[in-house]
């Protein structure tokens, strides 16, 4: 219920939202949690394992209990913390992990079965019988597991990736962070101040103490106003810094529109930032820890700091009759603030007999403990244990405090381990855990407001020193609370029953002790055995207490027990935010050729080739299968003329006095002897002797070559050439430039290819001026292009290149003429048939294992020079006559089926792995031969032409007798290409 006159919410702006179908009203500035508490709703969720009724425990992003689902339909988002989600008009929220309803949850029977479901239950129970795992256990576990559910539909929301750079990243805008940012900003540094809350100020907004002559909240707002007026400061609220990475990189999640109803139309829901900071100051504050006692998880039991936050920031009293239970002085403030606001404080229970409690207007129990609670879906009573026995108190809210844990998480992201401080019974960051990071304020174990303000200034001075900047001479510090923080450890109250530690994963004190008893005494083992700290909150509230209990159970100290490692992200990040822009078509860039539009218009199915898209075939009316289209297109090339866009092949322009020397070094064969105006086929090896790539290179001038690579290897070859030029031979004068995108290139192939070109070139060509493997400049309708007489089909063929801006027009013109001449466009399927018929290899053959010897090109390795891969290619094992080598394959029966990937066996040998003597790499139906043909590798294959072997494809259940033959099926003398 609201408390008049308290809080920094805007009471002039009522906001309505719904929870589990009921409408509620809150105010601008409310979270779902504060608004529900104001409406008297304390039951907000069910726990994961035992489905116990739970209410809010905290007032921040560490919340383990109050997880809700926001939105409906495709845009619904599960596991949103009610303590983080701000309300906005029309917000729809639901509880989760309860069926049929939050009020009556069938799965709560798990709680009754709890004696059988303790730590290690899964490991012990689902061991046998083995066959039960897939059939029974896994489906049942999967159904019961998981918190909120995704919609199962495509996510309609947009997300963004963003980048920022700064001198100083200040993480957290509480008293320390604000002073640090102000100090650094006044020194002229570029500052980013990031805070996960919607309102900067940290605990200053949650406490009643004054800073200077103002309330903490007003003082903080004043500093924020000063900072926002400075050009060198960027304020990022609603931004959680989620990870610290190498080299001063930080990940951060900004909840851009999670607090508004704005969706779609380019408005991102969230943005994932990568922030590069020269220095950082971690001022992330501290998280309060609960105390474990029997039934300490009832709705209405929360941390003392959270109760103060609800009261002072949101003007909400979480109960009408409140008790406070703590082991430290800080908890006293909760009782004092509540009493001052007129809320009935039933009792302040301090576990320390010697506690000094000032200004108490309420009953005080020193040296007492809360040992149980009562009520079912809401807290109704607590039992306290004093020297004189046990006593029940009627309360509807209990504020508890076991002390504060500095928020050390980010300092552990690069393998840092925090250090134990006995005086505050908590871990603090170990200096130097993150390079160029300074830790300040409560997350450094500095707890009074005044000390935090001062520590922020000091941290900024350190940062400015590291940045080589002069710090401001003096920073005035306002007066503020400066009381020492005193506590004595109390992790768990002794007694029977279940005392909860990890609320989200339902881990109790008993579970930790059981793990220790079963010898899971290493902290990492205990964690996995009990699932302590493995929920979405990473055990922010509970890990330290669990450690302390483990330390006690194993007779070690806490520092000797050690801690588990915190890893990014600090708070959950939606994969959609990290992968922003990469959904659907954003997943990978698409490269389109200049003929893409025309190909698509012709109905060609486009297939991916790396990032490129290439036409598979061009269907014509009446054709019902791709095979019909493919056979027709093959016919164009064999009988008339076909046009194919080959622009996706890599094109590398190589120039310089040492260009020929470079080519001699990267290719196995000679290029320095290639005359100007001629093209040569080349094979290049990796240094280990296997084939890297093949292609043709044209010599356009004495010091000017254009190399083509396969589509797949274009990037690798370019990188390889750069490596040779820079890292092996920097003394060579040669430069390589990728011109793949600059030239559109088309194959014009078939007996009528020259006739077609002569109708288009400004100057006609003939066999004398342009013989096989000639190249040079041509004019095509006034456009300067290049013509190469090369063939990947075995036919009389050319490739003509024009600057890309003329590509679409050139394709249209070539295609138009081809169609007049009885030809047309051909796609990848036909291209594949044409090359297999000729025994030309692709990366189906040179797949990273094949050597030049294997593909029958050992003789191409020139004896006259060194080249990459030459030495290793000569190793005996790589030239063994029994290696599988390239052969042609055809079925003994003309209708026999060949499949790529099938293994090859001797005719009589059983088709088992040990007997495999090779495999099939490429197959097609050859219209010319009227049967399927293939290329493959077979042991000593070249010596066994005309012998019959067996093809077996166990996957596709194919078995065919095939004859080994020469890999060139058509025109073995190559007369067609030369004609």
């Amino acid at each position: 219920m609201r408390v008049a006159g308290k809080g920094v919410i805007d009471r002039s702006k009522a906001v309505s939202f719904s929870f589990d179908g009921r409408r509620y009203s809150g105010f601008a500035g409310d979270t779902v949690a504060s608004a529900l508490l104001a409406n008297g709703v304390s039951l907000m969720g069910r726990s994961f394992k035992y489905h116990r009724p739970r209410g809010v425990l905290s007032a921040g992003s560490e919340e383990p209990n109050a997880l809700i689902t926001t939105g409906t339909g495709a845009g619904q988002e599960p596991n949103v913390r009610a303590t983080v989600q701000e309300i906005y008009e029309g917000l729809v929220t639901r509880s989760q992990n309860a069926w049929p309803s939050l009020d009556f949850d069938v799965m709560a029977v798990n709680d009754l079965a709890a004696p059988f479901l303790g730590a290690g239950f899964y490991y012990k129970t689902f061991m046998w019988p083995k066959r039960f795992w897939e059939a029974v256990y896994e489906p049942v576990i999967r159904k019961a597991a998981g918190l909120g559910a995704l919609s199962g539909q495509n996510n309609p929301d947009t997300y963004e990736r963003a980048y920022a750079f700064c001198d100083l990243l200040v993480i957290g805008a509480g008293p320390a962070g604000l002073m640090a940012a102000l100090t650094a900003a006044r020194a002229g540094a570029d500052v980013i101040l990031a805070d996960e809350d919607s309102l900067m100020g940290g605990r200053l907004n949650a406490e009643s103490g004054a800073v200077g002559h103002q309330s903490g909240a007003v003082w903080a707002a004043g500093i924020v106003a000063q900072l926002s007026a400075m050009d060198n400061v960027r304020l990022m609220s609603r931004t959680t810094v989620t990870g610290a990475y190498d080299g001063g990189m930080y990940g951060a999640l900004e909840r851009v529109n999670q607090h508004t109803g704005i969706r779609g139309a380019g408005a991102p829901l969230e943005a994932f930032w990568r922030i590069s900071a020269r220095h950082s100051i971690l001022a992330a504050g501290a998280l309060e820890r609960p105390i474990a006692f029997r039934n300490n998880d009832r709705p209405g039991i929360m941390t003392a700091g959270a109760v103060r936050a609800y009261l002072n920031r949101w003007g909400v009293a979480p109960g009408k009759r409140v008790a406070v239970f703590g082991n430290n002085d800080d908890a006293h403030r909760t009782a004092r603030d509540l009493a001052a606001a007129g809320v009935h404080v039933v009792a302040l229970i301090d576990s320390r007999p010697d506690a000094v409690i000032e200004g108490a207007t309420f009953p005080v129990f020193k040296g007492a403990q809360v040992c149980n609670s009562g009520g079912r879906k809401a807290l109704e009573s607590i039992t306290i244990r004093t020297d004189s026995g046990e006593e029940a108190l009627q309360v509807d809210c209990l504020a508890m405090s076991g002390g504060w844990n500095p928020t050390v998480h980010l300092t552990c992201h690069m393998n840092g381990r925090p250090s134990w401080r006995e005086d505050i019974q908590a871990f603090v960051p170990t200096p130097g855990s993150i390079p160029d990071m300074t830790v300040a304020g409560a997350c450094n174990g500095v707890f009074s407001t005044r000390a935090c303000l001062s520590d922020g200034v000091e941290a900024a001075r350190t940062a400015l020193g590291a940045l080589g900047r002069k710090a401001p001479a003096e920073m005035a510090l306002p007066e503020a609370e400066d009381t020492p923080y005193a506590l004595s450890p109390l992790w768990a109250v002794a007694g029977a029953g279940r005392a909860w530690l990890d609320f989200q994963n339902d881990v109790s004190v008993k579970d930790i002790k059981q793990a220790a008893a079963e010898n899971f005494s290493s902290v990492e083992h205990m964690k996995r055995y009990t699932t302590q700290g493995m929920a979405t909150d990473q055990g922010k509230n509970s890990n330290v207490a669990a450690l302390a209990i483990l330390a006690d159970a194993t007779g070690r100290g806490i520092p000797q027990t050690g801690t588990t490692t915190f890893r990014p992200p600090y708070a959950p990040v939606a994969i959609a935010a990290m992968g922003a822009g990469a959904q659907g078509h954003g997943f990978a860039p698409e490269r389109h050729t200049t003929s893409h539009k025309r190909s698509v218009a012709m109905g060609a199915p486009m297939i991916e080739a790396g990032l490129w898209y290439r036409p598979s075939y061009f269907p014509k009316a009446g054709e019902t299968t791709w095979q019909q289209s493919c056979d027709r297109e093959v016919g164009y090339v064999r009988k008339a003329v076909g046009i194919c866009d080959v622009s996706t092949l890599g094109k590398i322009d190589i120039q310089g006095p040492d260009a020929a020397r470079l080519l001699d070094f990267v290719y196995t064969n000679m290029f320095s002897t290639l005359p100007v105006g001629r093209v040569r086929y080349g094979v290049m090896l990796r240094e280990d002797g296997t084939v890297m790539d093949d292609g043709t290179t044209a010599r356009l001038g004495a010091e000017h070559f254009v190399m083509t690579t396969t589509t797949a290897a274009a990037g690798n070859v370019m990188r390889h050439l750069e490596f040779v030029c820079q890292a092996l031979h920097p003394e060579w004068e040669v430069s390589c430039t990728s011109v793949t995108e600059q030239w559109a290139q088309f194959a014009v192939a078939g007996p009528m290819a020259r006739a077609l070109l002569n109708g288009m070139l400004d100057k006609p060509i003939d066999n004398e001026s342009w013989p096989f493997m000639a190249c040079g400049d041509v004019q095509l309708g006034g456009v300067a292009g290049r013509l190469f007489r090369i063939s990947f089909s075995g036919e009389h063929a050319y490739e003509i290149a024009v600057p890309s801006r003329y590509g679409a027009a050139a394709f249209d013109a070539l295609l138009g003429r081809a169609e007049q001449m009885g030809g047309g466009a051909y796609g990848m399927e036909a291209l594949n048939v044409l090359r297999i018929e000729k025994g030309f290899i692709t990366h189906a053959e040179i797949e990273g294992r094949a050597t030049a010897f294997d593909i029958g090109m050992a003789r191409m390795i020139s004896a006259k020079k060194d080249c990459i891969g030459k030495t290793m290619a000569a190793r005996p094992g790589l030239v063994d006559a029994l290696r599988p080598q390239l052969v042609g394959l055809k079925p003994v029966e003309p209708g026999g089926r060949l499949t790529a990937g099938a293994h090859l066996f001797e005719r009589e040998a059983p088709a088992i792995r040990e007997n495999s003597k090779g495999h099939v790499s490429s197959v097609c139906y050859s219209p010319e031969l009227g049967m399927m043909i293939g290329l493959g590798f077979f042991a000593a294959g070249p010596a066994r032409h005309a012998e019959v072997i067996r093809l077996v494809d166990h996957l596709r259940k194919v078995e065919t007798e095939v004859e080994i033959c020469h890999p060139v099926f058509l025109d073995p003398q190559g007369e067609r290409a030369r004609g």
Binding site: G247, S276, Q726, T871
Partner: protein
């Protein structure tokens, strides 16, 4: 992680391609003993500490770099153009 490219300045590591140990700069003579070739191609140290490795700024200027990186802390202590390193090796031998 960020890498200081001598040509382009401090850049995000996703602009760079990683190749492996910088021993690749010292290509043996074609006639060298096969043990030298084996060492060049296949044998690599796996140090916990500073290591010299090859990166290419292929999302930037295309320069091959020799980067000295500590495998324990990921701190990069030095970045040089591979071409400069190779030239210096030539002078030294």
């Amino acid at each position: 992680m960020r890498i200081e490219c001598p040509m382009c300045g401090s850049r995000d590591r996703r602009e760079f391609y990683y190749q492996g140990a910088a021993v690749m700069l010292a290509r043996p003579d074609p006639q060298a003993h096969e043990a030298d070739w084996e060492a060049y191609l296949h044998l690599r140290e796996n140090p916990a500490g500073p290591t010299r490795e090859l990166w290419q700024h292929d999302g930037g200027c295309g320069a091959w770099l020799v980067v000295t990186r500590d495998t324990v802390s990921h701190q990069i202590s030095d970045t040089q153009l591979a071409a400069d390193v190779k030239r210096a090796m030539g002078k030294a031998s």
